[in-house]
């Protein structure tokens, strides 16, 4: 590949979309789970309540990933 054609790429741009759709929610779910574990380690007696709250946090975060992964079906 010479210097003039360095930006000449082939492939499907939707693949970049899959990556972008997964990276944000991936970080988000990691943060939600790590903070829950931290909280359970501090106050084990609240584990049940914290896990249910975490469930809601994960549901909202992963919704972004699933919608992002499905968008090629309308934009393709």
């Amino acid at each position: 590949m010479d210097a003039v054609n360095i930006a000449e790429l082939s492939g499907n741009i939707a693949v970049v979309g899959y990556g972008l759709a997964a990276i944000g929610p991936g970080i988000g779910v990691g943060l939600v789970v790590s903070k829950t574990i931290e909280s359970i380690a501090r106050q084990p007696e609240l584990a049940g309540r914290l896990q249910v709250t975490m469930w809601l946090g994960i549901a909202f975060t992963e919704a972004l990933a699933l919608i992002g992964l499905a968008t090629p079906f309308i934009f393709a």
């Binding site: 779910v29 049940g48 309540r49 249910v52 090629p72 309308i74």
Partner: protein
Amino acid sequence: MSANSSDQLFVKALRLSAILALAIALIGTVAGYFAAAEAGIFAALTGAAVSVVFGSMTTLSIWLGGKLPLNGFYGLVLGGWLLKIVLFAVLLFVLQGATNFSGPVFFFAVVSSVLGNLAIDSWLVLTGKIPTINN
């Protein structure tokens, strides 16, 4: 072993998710038929199947993970999430080559499922009696 309030909450969430998937299958089939004939029906039913699997996977992983030690809980919840995204990517790969398949109908079925499950989860957490200490 008697079921505690957390168990009841998760069972209720699974039951409501199943009803939502059934509703998406019924409404999606009719709407998909008018939008894209047979391709729309197939897409709506696939979207409803995705709704069942993905709607229940998070709930099941947190419910069952809650009965394990902390590291097991962490592994099950995050492993379940990873498995779900991998399954979804494989499904998209398979479906993109399908000829008799309506992409927009599938997209709207999946988005309805995701938003519906969010509404169910939020409603249950806001209105449910969550125990501070499990039985």
